[in-house]
């Protein structure tokens, strides 16, 4: 039986590594998903149809604060990974909570930005530019929101299970995901907002 158990641990470690490789490949496909949305946005970014332009709509305090929140949350999720490697479960949960709060702040600001724009009459059906804008930025926001639910479920599991090989894998995955969303946001900031107001 002891042989069986040691064998089982090997298998688990192997499977967790496999899952992380698969997650990297999933992220590749997600890059292509965003790539396609970016391409569509680039084609349609000047199709205002006489409606509001990016210059009129985007407000610097909003998107700069969003950037600040998301970049900081990427940093704190890095600190969470450090705590994971040190094996300090409470510290890990703590950093994840801070990461999630920053993420929620980001989503809140984005919802606020969207509702302001809609209130001004800049809706998704106003022009092709706005269709592309809401879809591209909204897809990123949706990714962040899904990540938040996932992160909370991981925190609960960390509380009950502690740091196991399975939990190590899960924390590694969510932090990969989180950094990935941060990178996508850098492109959003540059291509949608900064190029939009220029």
């Amino acid at each position: 039986m002891s042989q069986a158990i040691s064998h089982s641990n090997d298998n688990h470690e192997h499977h967790e590594d496999l899952s992380i490789l698969g997650f990297w490949i999933f992220l590749v496909t997600d890059v292509l998903l965003f790539g396609t949305l970016f391409a569509t946005f680039m084609v349609l970014r000047t199709h205002f149809d006489g409606g509001p332009t990016g210059k009129e709509l985007f407000e610097a305090p909003g998107y700069i604060t969003e950037t600040f929140l998301l970049l900081t949350s990427s940093f704190t999720s890095g600190l969470a990974t450090l705590a994971l490697h040190k094996g300090k479960v409470n510290q890990l949960i703590g950093w994840l909570i801070i990461t999630a709060l920053l993420g929620m702040g980001f989503v809140g600001l984005e919802i606020n930005e969207f509702s302001n724009m809609i209130a001004e009459g800049a809706t998704i059906s106003r022009s092709a530019f706005l269709s592309a804008f809401f879809t591209l930025v909204g897809t990123h926001g949706l990714h962040v929101s899904v990540g938040l639910v996932w992160m909370i479920s991981i925190m609960i599991q960390l509380k009950t299970d502690g740091i196991t090989s399975v939990m190590k894998r899960k924390v590694t995955m969510i932090s990969l995901y989180w950094h990935f969303l941060d990178v996508v946001w850098i492109f959003l900031l540059t291509i949608v907002y900064l190029m939009g107001v220029m």
Partner: protein, 654 residues
């Protein structure tokens, strides 16, 4: 109240056509019969435990294949209806709107719900066994892929009797597929049916990529892999690059329809040509996704039945990879007539022609493998031999279409229809049928009857040429695709009639195959050795059908075609009892089935725009994901005693 209900029902259900009422009755009776049989023989528990919750790649493969054959039947009936309508001028068998629906569902079903699942079925059956693995990398995800495909296909097929079928062509070009021009729910069914199964395809792409990269048995280097596994890798890498584009494209079309956005509309700055570009950025790689594994099958079959190693293994691998890369850079050849600049058209014409080079390399390698080989004409070999001339003509007409200026003449004509059917039937379907005949004994432990198979083979082949050769000529005579009828004065009648006769031949061929399967279940030659074809690769070293753990002891290989080497060296495939260890296996799970069913609910809600249903569906999906995340003990061990019992039953234990 009753009037409201009546009004709702008359919109909800498709009405007014005797064909549809016939289908309603047939569907109802079939469902009732299935439910009755399951109750009568008390098979519900068996169905749930053995099939609906299974994570075993071999069973998932079988389910894929059954589903795809059913879809082949449905798509085939569509094809016969079309050929009946076109057999003679001025026939009023189908109305124009009905004809539009039928060519749309025919194309969509044949590519996405027949070719793709048949391909994934063969991946599942063969790849883990060929590379000496106990399962795929993610068995749970594998089951999820299957059920997402299955419920996606069901959602799409439901449009036939509920709500109305899509009618904007198999790629649903806007502005025709936009809300203003296709106001019904048909296009929504199209979008969500494909979205659900597309998620499954993408997950399978990831799954098999990791399986091939990481799960090969000891000693098997990449360049030692059987060529079918190589072709699966090439196909999966293409899936990873292409399917996200499809997901986004259909999502954007749906946002247009659902939220009134303007991605592809004619008004408010939308750009319909953007859709055509995007959909072909998926659509062209898609044809290589389905044909590459067929190339892999031909390689296995030619090598096995010529009793030779494949000629030019390395060049075979390189040409697979070159095709999968080049396939991503040819999409514009589907719309040279869009009016892009001459430079753009020239680029895509050249890339398209360039694909003929690696394909030609492969054809020559198959021929050289057969050269001076000891050829055995078995059923898989027959289909392979039939493929070579068929694909040669298909490839040559493809190069003709690639010439951009000449394409202005062929564009959207029956010449094109003949060309792509020639490559998709002659290349893909023949290949998958060869694969089915080849791996059938490994799946079920018996061979398929040869005599009935020969009938099917000749009916298919003769029918194929009779059906599609006239269509090349019809294209030159000016007949365009998607016309639902034509006049006597066009002069198209004789060739159309011949073409329709050919289609009937192929339909009869399919019936022979169904008969062949049913007959062989009872009378087929049993395979007791596990190696009915004198094979070269690892899947033939284990019993047929393979035990649930595949390999009692994982094999260690020393190079290509290792099983053949072992046979040449006179080694047997017996297993020493002291080598047996408990085997780590994934547990069955109901979550993939339930989660996909919730996706179906959400997809149905999106189709009809019913928010409450969308909410229920998506909440169910989220609940399933969390349930999986929180579940523990998802695996178990098969004890040595049980492995000993199974292996000694096959007489493999020393």
């Amino acid at each position: 109240m009753l009037d409201n209900l009546k009004d709702f029902a008359s919109h909800f259900f498709v009405t007014g056509d005797p064909l549809i009422y016939g289908a309603d009755v047939a569907i109802g009776l079939t469902m009732a019969a299935i439910i009755f049989v399951l109750f009568y023989f008390k098979k519900w528990g068996w169905l749930w435990r053995e099939w609906l919750t299974t994570v075993d790649h071999k069973k998932i493969g079988i389910m894929y294949i059954i589903a795809s054959l059913l879809m082949l039947f449905r798509g085939g009936v569509d094809a016969l209806l079309m050929r009946a309508q076109l057999a003679l001028p001025n026939i009023h068998f189908l109305q124009s709107e009905h004809y539009n629906e039928i060519f749309t569902t025919h194309g969509t079903i044949m590519i996405l719900f027949m070719a793709m699942p048949l391909m994934f079925g063969l991946f599942n059956i063969a790849v883990p066994l060929q590379i000496g693995a106990r399962d795929v990398a993610y068995p749970f995800l594998n089951a999820l892929s299957f059920w997402m495909f299955f419920f996606g296909a069901m959602l799409f097929n439901l449009s036939f009797v509920i709500g109305g079928s899509p009618a904007a062509g198999w790629l649903a070009y806007p502005p025709l597929s936009e809300l203003t021009t296709s106001p019904g729910v048909g296009e929504n069914f199209y979008i969500w049916g494909i979205q659900l199964s597309g998620v499954g395809s993408l997950a399978s792409g990831i799954n098999f990529t990791v399986t091939i990269l990481k799960m090969r048995t000891k000693g098997m280097k990449l360049m030692d892999m059987p060529l079918f596994s190589w072709s699966v890798l090439a196909s999966c890498l293409t899936i990873l690059l292409a399917f996200p584009v499809l997901t986004v494209t259909l999502a954007l079309l749906f946002i247009d329809r659902f939220a009134g956005a303007h991605f592809f509309t004619m008004l408010h700055g939308g750009n319909p040509m953007m859709y055509v570009n995007l959909i072909w950025m998926w659509g062209h790689p898609e044809v290589y996704i389905v044909v590459l594994p067929a190339f892999g099958i031909y390689s296995e079959v030619v090598s096995t039945f010529s009793k030779k190693k494949i000629f030019g293994y390395k060049s075979m691998v390189f040409s697979l990879m070159i095709i999968s890369v080049l396939g991503y850079f040819t999409w514009v050849h589907h719309f040279f007539t869009m009016g892009a600049s001459a430079n753009v058209n020239a680029f895509f014409a050249i890339t398209t022609m360039a694909i003929a080079i690696p394909t030609g390399v492969k054809i020559f390698n198959w021929l050289f493998t057969m050269f001076r080989g000891r050829i055995r004409i078995t059923q898989p070999m027959l289909w392979t031999l039939a493929f070579i001339p068929t694909f040669l003509v298909g490839g040559a007409t493809g190069v003709m279409l690639a010439v951009a200026p000449a394409d202005y003449q062929y564009h959207n004509s029956y010449f094109l229809i003949a060309h792509f059917h020639q490559t998709l039937i002659g290349g893909v379907v023949f290949g998958y049928l060869a694969g089915l005949y080849y791996w059938w004994p490994k799946m079920f432990g018996f061979k398929l009857n040869v005599k009935l198979g020969l009938w099917a083979f000749w009916l298919w082949n003769i029918g194929f040429y009779v059906c599609f050769m006239p269509q090349y000529a019809l294209g030159f005579m000016g007949m365009t695709r998607r016309v639902y009828t034509y006049g006597w004065d066009m002069g198209w009648a004789p060739l159309n009639l011949i073409s329709s006769i050919g289609a009937v031949f192929m339909g009869i061929g399919f019936i022979f195959q169904v008969w062949q399967i049913l007959y062989s279940i009872k009378y087929g030659e049993r395979d007791t050795t596990g190696d009915p074809w004198d094979g070269h690769t690892l899947e033939w070293s284990i019993p047929s059908p393979a035990p649930e753990y595949n390999f009692a002891v994982l094999p260690e290989v020393k190079g290509r075609d290792d099983f053949w080497r072992r046979k040449e060296e006179g080694l047997d495939n017996k297993i020493k009892e002291k080598d047996l260890k408990p085997i780590h296996m994934p547990k069955n799970s109901g979550i993939p089935f339930i989660m996909s069913a919730f996706w179906f609910v959400a997809g149905f809600g999106f189709t009809f725009g019913w928010t409450w249903m969308i909410v229920i569906g998506l909440a169910g999906v989220a609940g399933c994901m969390l349930a999986r995340s929180f579940s523990k003990n998802n695996d178990y061990y098969i004890p040595v005693e049980q492995i000993r019992k199974t292996e000694s039953k096959y007489g493999r234990l020393v």
